[in-house]
Amino acid sequence: MSSSLDDMYREIIMDHYRSPRGRAPLPNADVSSDGMNPSCGDEINVAFSMDKDILTDVHVNCKGCAISVASGSMLAETVKGKSFEDVRKISEIVKKMLKGEEVEIPDDPDFEDLSALKGVRQFPVRIKCALLAWVTLVEGMEKYRAGGADSAKAATTEEDQ
């Protein structure tokens, strides 16, 4: 009956929600990027340090629902040590997976947890929650590349009543 609910709130998601990774402050971050989801008020801060093109450390602080917090926590676990292009690629795969588009999920430890986000695709309005962290990080990295702005803002659209 509520199998699709169980599919979204998998144990692995709830685990990330209960104890989100990457919460430790990153006082010497190169970039701090804020995101929000106007439709629910979810707010996120993603800060990270770069060494050339490599993301060396990341901090994620999300005030939001189980899905956005879990997704941010998984992001924190995944992106450390990755290049900008790697991050972009992963985030594209996550996006496609969430939207139910055809995409091959790499047989790669990075995607062990991430693929648990698949359950969200049955709840189209929640996709934005799962994307928030990724959009915010990518925007931050783009800003950094474009000219090293140390703060960036991301927002998905819409809003509620």
């Binding site: 709830m14 008020g41 979810d42 939001g64 629902c65 189980a66 899905i67 809003e159 009543q161």
Partner: protein, 425 residues
Amino acid sequence: MPTDTKNSSQPAGRPSSELNVDLIKADFPILEEKVNGHRLVYLDSAASSQKPQEVVHALSQYYRHMHSNIHRGLHTLAERATVAYEKSRQHVADFIGGVEPEEVIFNSGTTEAINLVARTWGEANINEGDEIVVTEMEHHANFVPWFMLAQRKKAVIRKLPITVCGHLDLSEIDSIIGPRTKLVAITHMSNVLGTINPIQEIAALAKKHGALVLGDGAQAAPHLPINVRDLGVDFYAFSAHKMMGPTGLGLLYGRRELLEAMPPYKFGGEMISKVSFDEVTFAELPHKFEAGTPNIADVVTFDAALTYLERVGMNNARQHEIDLTGYTIEKLNSLNGLEIQGPQEVEQRGGAISFTDPTIHPHDISTFLDSRGIAIRAGHHCAQPLMRAMGKVATARASLYIYNDRSDVDALVEALVEMRKYFGL
């Protein structure tokens, strides 16, 4: 079919005998929908109400038997449609306490009604240094138009704050509303807290300083008997879709002399008198504010929606809401740690009940409840300044109407208990 005892009232605390919710439920075909295998429990009427069968029927009947463009036609259908359209205007005028029909302007929603006032009266009357008072609990529809107007005009937005209990904090009101105040824009009932604001007292104070008062009736008009003259407001805006009527229709009441002095809002057919390449002159009220082909079908249908509400009786509706809100608050309070926003006194509030769970985010609450067929809303409810004042990013909101009863509330509370188990938090 609901009973008709328009002006009765009865002691609170016991289920209102005037209103037979089983019969009312039967008037709403959508309540027979199954959602995720459960019966639909619709607790989202503050966002938009469902429509009784006879309103949906009136809409079909309009298109089947009388559709035509209005006001300008000499043929039978045009005459039928025009008469029905103007009958609905008269009905609205009566419903809000017996104003003149020319004081009722049809438009597309509360949002547009307030924008209309900001763009016309506001544009003409707000100047640098003038003050516009808004409350901290306004819906964006009654905040952003004034914020933007103030920005354009270098006017000042003054804030009437709220107390921790979700009432307006009137302790400093004499230093907030004063000789520089040109307008007080205030919601009659909060869509988040349920709070019913003392518009009458505030309007009296505003009047003393020569300021106008705009009441946002989007939440109040569906749930309370309304008399705009008694309220003392100069403008009053509300939406048909929250009170049994169709989407796409808003209502603006404005005092005749104000409307007459205001420039038009939109330009086009129907609102002009003479047009040439040298000169344009405008029509009389209410046409001056209804440019173009109006939302004829929905205006005509709204007549049926008001008839339905009157047959139920607004006093009965209010009494039912008091009873059911009391019951809901009591039940929710029994859930450990669940926090209800807004006043707990049922006489001072309506049935929009916001709450938060200490560990489960409103989004997740809403998704879980939906899996049990229960429709509530989660988010900032278009009231970000209020959210900030309450220190929340979002709340869950269950909102009641006359087709809800204790069984709906029981379903909500049971599901919330289940939810806590489910998330194991």
